[in-house]
């Protein structure tokens, strides 16, 4: 395939990247990355049974009810990377999704929850490079960033220089966030230097755009691999670490999340940088996302409940949250067809 085709801009409209408006009280200093420290990788120990026990008991230890639950679900909406990553995606499909990102909840529900006029929107729109410009245009003026999956998503096996070119092209088209996939082979063979070098290059190619590194944890299999890959990616300059492409056999899980969050905590202890976390794939109910939120708050703290440090890659989650919020407002169980689709 010719390089030009791959990175060609499908949109005729030139677009300008615009700065993110951080209205969150905590400004997050951007991870500068650092030299690869092999000790930080070699020392990692993680016990699967102990990790499972922690995540299994958490839903019994934490829950939110009534107003608190509604608030947590509203917050979850602001953290959703509303995603379409399918072979049959089209411009119109992407535009429809962007419209949903702008108004994720029915206005009468927003009103009832006291959120009318707040401009509540999802965390981002996440698309393939081909639709970046479309999305940027559709979201103009909304403060909603566009995230592009990149580097030969989902397998990540295209030539390295093409990966860099793909990143650059998406940034040129206005993507503010680049969700890259790592070369799983580097992890599976323990070649941490190669992984570091690869991600370092991706980060450089991103420029001001934020780098989200997808580990494809379902391919890495062990929590040890996941934890080590997390640490290497952060040292290489990742702004977010993300579980999955949504295309692996197993997507985001709570034990994998726990392993990654612990690495984020260690990295912050050592460098002061707060790294974001994005679980993706398989989180489709309000109950699911609450469990992730509990884990974020318990393991990392309040800051990690905001979209600056927490995103959820999901396509059907929003619909379930809408139904739950309607139930909260009306006391009646809702149905999908009562909420506009994206």
């Amino acid at each position: 395939m010719a390089q030009g085709v791959l990175i060609s801009n499908p949109s005729a409209v030139p677009v300008q990247p615009h700065a993110r408006d951080h209205n969150h009280p905590h400004a997050i200093a951007r991870n500068s990355g650092r030299a690869l420290e092999m000790d930080w990788v070699d020392e990692i120990r993680i016990n699967l049974s102990a990790a499972e026990r922690r995540v299994a008991s958490l839903p019994g230890r934490r829950t939110v009810k009534k107003d608190a639950q509604a608030a947590w679900l509203l917050k979850a909406i602001t953290c959703i990377d509303l995603t379409t990553l399918n072979g049959d995606d089209t411009t119109e499909r992407v535009k429809r999704l962007c419209a949903k990102a702008r108004s994720p909840l029915r206005s009468d529900l927003l009103e009832a929850l006291g959120f009318a006029g707040r401009g509540l929107h999802t965390g981002a729109i996440c698309v393939y490079h081909r639709f970046v410009a479309t999305a940027v245009e559709a979201l103009d003026g909304s403060d909603i960033p566009v995230a592009a999956v990149s580097t030969g998503f989902p397998a990540g096996l295209i030539p390295h220089d093409l990966k860099l070119k793909e990143i650059e092209a998406s940034v040129r088209d206005g993507a503010q966030e680049i969700d890259i996939v790592i070369t799983r082979e580097h992890v599976l063979t323990g070649d941490w230097r190669a992984l570091y070098a690869e991600v370092r290059d991706f980060r450089a190619a991103c420029g001001d755009a934020h780098l989200k590194t997808i580990l494809a944890t379902g391919d890495l299999k062990t929590l040890r691999n996941v934890a080590k890959a997390s640490m290497v990616c952060m040292m290489a300059g990742a702004d977010f670490i993300k579980t999955s492409t949504g295309k692996e056999g197993v997507n985001a899980t709570l034990p994998v999340t726990l392993a990654m969050l612990r690495m984020i905590r260690v990295y912050e202890e050592r460098t002061g940088f707060k790294i974001g976390f994005k679980p993706a794939g398989g989180i489709s109910t309000a109950k699911d996302v609450l469990n992730y939120q509990f884990l974020m708050k318990e393991e990392l703290g309040r800051d990690w409940l905001e979209p600056e440090l927490f995103r959820v890659g999901a396509s059907s989650l929003l619909a379930d949250i809408e139904r739950q919020l309607e139930h909260h407002v009306t006391g009646r169980y809702s149905a999908f067809n009562r909420h506009p689709v994206g």
Partner: protein
């Protein structure tokens, strides 16, 4: 609070569990309860009630009956009448009942969970997710044992009427642990719940009858310690099973001594939580939360002594303190808390006082800064850092949410510190190196060891302590065995009184060439040694003929023998193959001198030479049997519901005192010593007082058979006096007494110092030639203690 407020703060907010059903149940009883005897409530004979409070609010919750002698008598009577038909019902019939009880618990799961949380103060999460499901599992598991009993325990019968006394920390779960095996095995029960937390036991008894349990099979008598004491002392009770404090356990041991009641005690602990530098630190930090901030730390097996390898201590401290900040303490019925209320004000005061002592003695105190409710019995999660083994808080069981921490340098030092306690209930070992973890686990003096985990329980895996944490096991095959007795022992009769000691001969030996004088010494630490007092006693034939002299052993000889046995610890680590070889070798060498031993037996006891020869042959065969068992009486691999295994290992008890009977002076001695050494114990044996020479002659067999020094020590002398010294010796781990009723009573009574395990015959004679009664598992079971090592795995 509005949605917007929570949106900004992202706080959890209240999440209360509804308590309407539980309150309605209390109301139906006007919050006043009688005992539950013979299938119905019975008003207390004294008319007296105790008030039980709700720990989270301090408000009165209900009135429970104070049990008096008449109530206990009525309950024991009801249990007695029900016992025979209950046993006759057969295994399958009882299995149906136990299954129904499991289903009943599941059917009323939430009611039990809520009532327990209200009554005890523990979080609804724990009652709902742990206590009730584990209790139901216990009944289901034991329904299985009832079903299999006739096949698997064909040579056993139920003990009879069992008195069970349970603590307040897991009221319903301990009820299940106690009554499920007892009922499964065909016993009937009088249960005395703790006075702080009697309500779920009453609810259980009520619903059990609704579920079809025949009246009198399960009786509940409520009340305080005095009621418990009445139950312990009641002569109609065949066995006492107690879970609670070591102090009360001691007094129960004392008051049941000599009564013939069998006894199991599950007592306190100060369990170590050991973290090596190659552990998953964050996983271990979570383990600490499960270990000491579970049930407000009111857990007998709580990992309350944190032992950290020096290199990671500081990292661990920081991460633990950070983790403490996220713990939430609140009302027990809140579904978003980690810790609820301590059970009672008296307990809260004790915790506060001990923490104060710890700080005075130099500990640094860390407490979570999160809010705790102002009213009610609440205490924050607490870490005492910089604690030394000599600190009060490192020694005493606090029974609250207080962790004490200290460091170690090497694996050996970790083991030494872990074992530096009078207790031995549980231990937790954290290391990602399988070789290290599995090397440490067997070295810990504890009945339960969790590798990279903590506070895991299952009905299939025995639970119980070493040392002063008690004896007996709950759960598994070994737990059921505690509620059965061997048929082979049920027909024993009181030992016939020996004829009076013949008068010492007065006439001289005449002018023939005398035999060379042979005075047997004691055998201590592999050497023949003179008795400390340097007195001897004469050994005479039944007709009064002088056969020789043996040393008159005293306290100091026992002390020396125990020290020698203690230092022969290598025997416990010797391979089973090696121990088997030595037992066979003993048989070989005894056989080589068979005629001599037969003559000796004949001379001492006056039996015919054929009978004497038969005793020698039986002794040789017995040594062969234990050579055979040495590498075959193995542990079990349990399959509890987790990804992993639990290894039930048979471990030697340690140093065991043995008092041998007068009948069959060689065979009795061999029958008791051989199973003990086969399992790796070291023995201090006191041979038959009347006929000691068969044992003293055996020195030379021991010396020529490669038995390491100190493994078998023999002290001759006045047997019952030496039994007392052994019973009072706190470095003797177990004591077997086969002889008089008085010696049995004394052994049980005096064993309380270190709560040594006792096996006594109450003066009932065993037929040493009857293999079913005197050889094999019937004794081997008492020669080992079971350690369950939980090994979850996965990567």
């Amino acid at each position: 609070m509005s949605v917007a407020h929570y949106y900004e703060t992202m706080e959890y907010g209240p999440a209360p569990e509804a308590d309407g059903e539980a309150r309605a149940w209390l109301k139906r009883h006007d919050a006043t309860f009688g005992h539950f005897i013979a299938g119905k409530y019975a008003a207390p004979a004294s008319g007296r009630h105790l008030t039980t409070i709700e720990p989270a609010t301090g408000k009165a919750l209900a009135k429970i009956a104070q049990g008096a002698a008449a109530d206990v008598e009525a309950a024991v009577g009801a249990a007695r009448s029900a016992q025979s038909p209950w046993a006759k019902l057969g295994g399958h019939g009882r299995a149906r009942h136990l299954y129904a009880l499991a289903r009943m618990l599941q059917r009323h799961a939430r009611l039990f969970a809520v009532l327990e949380a209200i009554d005890n103060g523990k979080p609804i999460r724990e009652t709902r997710d742990l206590d009730v499901p584990l209790a139901a599992r216990h009944f289901l598991y034991h329904a299985g044992w009832a079903q299999l009993q006739e096949r698997e325990f064909a040579d056993h019968v139920p003990v009879g009427v069992v008195g069970q006394i349970i603590p307040w920390n897991f009221p319903l779960l301990m009820l299940a642990w106690k009554i499920a095996p007892a009922l499964a095995a065909g016993n009937t029960v009088v249960l005395k719940p703790a006075e702080f937390t009697s309500l779920t036991a009453l609810l259980f008894a009520e619903l059990a009858v609704e579920a079809g349990l025949p009246p009198g099979v399960l009786n509940v008598v409520t009340g305080d310690g005095a009621t418990g004491a009445l139950l312990v002392e009641n002569p109609g009770v065949d066995k006492i099973a107690f879970t609670g404090s070591t102090e009360v356990g001691r007094s129960i041991r004392q008051s049941t001594a000599g009564s013939g009641k069998s006894l199991t005690l599950e007592l306190g602990g100060k369990s170590p939580f050991i973290v090596f530098d190659d552990a998953d630190i964050d996983g271990a930090v979570e383990g600490v939360v499960d270990a000491i901030w579970f049930n407000q730390g009111q857990v007998c097996c709580a990992g309350s002594r944190l032992l950290l390898q020096e290199g990671i201590a500081e990292t661990f401290r920081k991460r633990l303190i950070r983790r403490m900040e996220t713990l939430r303490v609140g009302p027990p019925l809140d579904k978003a808390i980690d810790m609820g209320a301590v059970v009672a004000p008296v307990q809260l005061e004790r915790i506060k006082a001990l923490v104060e002592t710890g700080v005075k003695e130099g500990a640094e105190k860390y407490q979570a800064s999160g809010a705790i409710p102002a009213e009610g019995c609440f205490y924050p999660p607490t870490l005492l850092w910089n604690v030394h083994p000599s600190s009060t808080v490192a020694i005493e069981e606090i029974f609250g949410p207080v962790l004490v921490a200290m460091t170690f340098r090497t694996p050996d030092e970790a083991v030494m510190l872990a074992n530096n306690t009078r207790y031995g209930l549980a231990a937790s070992v954290w290391s990602e190196t399988i070789g290290l973890a599995l090397d440490i686990a067997p070295k810990l003096q504890a009945g339960v060891v969790w590798v990279n985990a903590t506070n895991l329980f299952d009905a299939s895996v025995g639970f119980g302590g070493y040392r002063e944490s008690g004896f007996g096991r709950e759960g598994g095959r070994e737990g059921l065995t505690e509620y059965l007795k061997p048929k082979a022992w049920s027909g024993r009769k009181a030992r016939a009184k020996l004829p009076p000691f013949p008068a010492a001969p007065t006439d001289g030996a005449g002018f023939g060439t005398p035999s060379i004088d042979r005075t047997a010494k004691l055998f201590v630490g592999g050497k023949q040694v003179r008795p400390d007092g340097n007195y001897s006693r004469a050994v005479l034939s039944p007709k009064g003929k002088h056969l020789g002299e043996v040393g008159e052993g005293n306290r100091k000889d026992i002390r020396n023998a125990v020290a020698a046995a203690r230092s022969a610890e290598g025997w416990a680590r010797a391979t089973a193959h090696n121990r088997a070889q030595i037992l066979y070798y003993l048989a070989e060498n005894l056989s080589a001198r068979g005629d001599e031993f037969a003559r000796r037996i004949g001379d001492m006891t006056g039996v015919s030479s054929a009978k004497a020869r038969a005793e020698v042959e039986a002794s040789i065969e017995r040594l062969f049997s234990y050579g055979a068992w040495a590498d075959k009486y193995e542990g079990t691999i349990h399959a509890p519901p987790l990804r992993g295994v639990a290894l039930a290992m048979h471990e030697p008890i340690g140093v065991v005192g043995v008092a041998c009977p007068d009948e069959a002076p060689l065979l009795g001695f061999i029958s008791l010593v051989a199973p003990l050494i086969a399992m790796g114990n070291r023995v201090v044996a006191v041979p038959s007082e009347r006929h000691p020479l068969a044992a003293t002659d055996f020195y030379q067999v021991l010396e020529t058979s490669d038995v390491p020094a100190g493994v078998v020590n023999i002290v001759t002398g006045e047997r019952d006096a030496l039994v007392k010294v052994l019973a009072e010796h706190d470095d003797v781990d177990a004591l077997w007494v086969f002889g008089s009723q008085e010696a049995s009573t004394a052994a049980e009574q005096l064993s309380v110092g270190n709560l040594k395990r006792t096996l006594v015959d109450h003066g009932l004679a065993l037929d040493w030639y009857d293999r079913a009664a005197s050889e094999g598992p019937i004794l081997l079971r008492h020669a080992v203690q079971v350690k369950n090592i939980w090994i979850p795995y996965g990567d």
